[in-house]
């Protein structure tokens, strides 16, 4: 996924990515005309713990993400507000809240406890895509490709005035097949102004994990009845974070992904003639 070359070879790679992008754009983003753009990497978030702090004006989302993938370097793409800023994650925040409410966080899930210990990883190389062309160019340059359905979904977000953020992570150990996938843990944070609570949209299936073990903890300064679109309420009360009291509502369960295909069905790719 990384360019892996520099100097004149990199300039060649950039020209090649531009040529692919131009070809795809002039063909109305039909991937069949540029088969090399079909996605190659596979990666999914298998478990996530999110803390959403909404103060009535600004929403801050802290994420503890456990990802499973095949490869060596992975990318996490997600739509975001155009006013979004990406901040460093806060690993201790989750333990701090969980301790107050008597939870082990993701380890409350039996299925999570069965997973191997994930490697610690850090996100790097944050990029924001403002138009579909940027997204395609970056993906061509990094030779990771795109799934057409995923591309259409992200294009929709861009058309609606959002941006697509991209973060990379590279666990120390890589994987070549599904039998021994990489499991990595990383933390992130997003912040953007909004007067209403905005939940993260349903993620798209990346080919590895069809669903997500999911904890979402909403903290608000005032009591509220806001509920999660698909997770049940499992706890509510008061927690203290950074010496501030928050009203807490916790939702937990297994959340679905979109674009899930049936077992044995391959990823979107060039049509076999």
């Amino acid at each position: 996924m990384e360019p892996s070359v520099e100097g004149p070879d990199f300039a060649t790679k950039v020209r090649r990515a531009e040529e692919i992008t131009h070809r795809l754009q002039t063909n109305h983003w039909k991937f069949a005309t540029v088969p090399e753009m079909f996605a190659k990497a596979t990666c999914d978030v298998v478990a996530k713990e999110i803390v959403t702090i909404h103060d009535g004006r600004v929403q801050t989302l802290y994420g503890r993400l456990v990802m499973k993938g095949i490869g060596s370097t992975f990318q996490l793409e997600s739509p975001a507000s155009a006013l979004n800023v990406t901040l460093p994650g806060r690993p201790k925040l989750f333990d701090d809240i969980n301790r107050q409410i008597g939870s082990r966080g993701l380890s409350d899930f039996e299925d999570f406890r069965k997973l191997p210990l994930p490697q610690e990883a850090e996100f790097f190389g944050q990029t924001m895509f403002y138009q579909v062309r940027d997204l395609v160019f970056w993906s061509a340059l990094h030779e990771c490709g795109l799934s057409p359905s995923g591309f259409e979904e992200l294009a929709g977000h861009i058309n609606r005035g959002e941006v697509v953020t991209s973060l990379l992570f590279k666990p120390s150990r890589s994987s070549k097949d599904l039998d021994s996938p990489v499991l990595a843990l990383a933390h992130t944070c997003k912040q953007f102004p909004t007067p209403v609570v905005q939940w993260i949209p349903k993620p798209l299936f990346g080919g590895v994990a069809r669903e997500t073990l999911h904890i979402d903890t909403l903290l608000t300064e005032e009591p509220c009845q806001v509920s999660h679109p698909f997770l049940p309420l499992v706890a509510d009360g008061i927690v203290v974070v950074d010496n501030r009291r928050y009203h807490m509502r916790r939702f937990a369960g297994t959340s679905p992904k979109d674009a899930v295909r049936g077992p044995g069905t391959g990823a979107e790719g060039p049509r076999q003639s």
Binding site: H28, K30, K257, R271
Partner: protein, 529 residues
Amino acid sequence: MNVSAHDHGCGTVAFDLYVRGEIPRAFDGSLVVATSRRAKDRTVFSRWHDAQADLMRLDLYPGRPGRICAHVLSVDSTAANLCGEFFQESKPRSSLGMNSGSKNDKADYAPNHVTQPNHGVNVAGSTVWVTNLLFGAPLEVDLASWMPRRVLRYVDLNETATRTTSTSHFAWSLDGRYAYFHQSLLEQASRKTLVRATDLRLIRIDTRTGAEHIWTLIAPPGDCALESSNFHSGFYFEHGGRRYVGLLRTGALLESLTAHTIPVDHYVAPMPLSTIWIAELVDEKAALQAWLLDGVTSNGLALSHLDVDAAGQDGFVLYANYKEAPVGEETHGKNIYGEPPADVVEHYPGMIVEALNYGTVMRYEWRGGKKSLKEFRRPYDPGQTALGHTWLPINIQLSSDKQRLFCTFSGLRPRLLSEHIAAAYPSRIAEQSDVSFVPPLLMRLNAATLEPDFGGDRNHLSYAEPVAMTVVGGDGADYVCTFSPELGLRIILGDDLRRLICHGQSPNLMHWRDSHFRPEPAHMEFVHR
């Protein structure tokens, strides 16, 4: 604005949406949406009968950003508050001295919903009639107060005919004054026979005076199997000085009148091909003999939704869609991959229509005595997304100038397709190797050719849009609205489906305590203020 909802009593809640962009002047009015709400806990077998019907009225106030206020009415499906209308239904089993395992066919018919308006929306002036996908009688709601007025039922229930079926989407006279819809009883002689319609009626409501006219409807000679006599949509036209109503005979088959109590796989009777019934409206007659519209040669299942251009009083151009889906079946049990529901997180059982194959959009023209048919059907090719697809067509609506046709397609979630349902259609189901996820789509077609209306740089389509859609004209432009509780209300420029004009959303739309809106609402209607 805040994040809390306000209970106004009487089962209604109101709250503002967070609005970005601009609400065009054409939107000085309200959008009405019928929804279905179920428990989030998917281990509970949540039959469609158990779903709560909520009606949303979104009041729009043009401006930048303008304002959108949502009013949500939770419908009491027993209509208990509408006294005097419905004593023949809804006797609880306990009062009949039975349990759910009763073998007494004749008595095992309660409890029933009098009205469960979670699907179609029909509007005239300050009155809204909301309908179910298939069952029950329309609920009449006063638009201003957002309170139910009455249930429209014109047939009498009895011990074997314990339910009704009505047209979800009414036909309207050319001046919009008269509404037409079908209603009949549903009866089941025994558990070994299919449910069949009896006592078929065609009803006309004069929206100015409130007067009603009821005809008996006689099935066409070539299509008198009353097991499939249900009609999802109707249309009106005039020809040679005479008035007619057309009814899309959808053809859903029901194996049982009662709701599933346990989600066991069962025999599924394959639906027959859909037809279109035509009846001439003659006030002096008590009974109208319907006949079949000829030349509708499609091999399609579940003819469902339509728009019609009947101007000129010389026939019509009908635009309609076939779902290629076994409507009327409750999805449950193992899916086509043999996976149990517990392993399929996106699964929620109960009346989810999942397509067997890609559907069809048709254009049927009957003008000046000449008839012609065009059809458009297309699989989803991920390598050629610009071509669109026709998987599970839902909404279909003409632009103001009748030159373009806006359509929504729900796509396919293959893991939601039940094995026992698919098994009933071995020759119709798509090749397993071709079946994969198909994203929802909003697409603009050329109304004359039915081909995708390719604009510059793919402005004729937008993927991942909610399927509930309506087209609103004004200011010299057409706007397309889409809505789902999770994704909110979107107003899109009809000329360029990539251009979002306005977006309204609220977390209060996404949930209601420990329930959520499933499946997504299918339709909505706009009413000018």
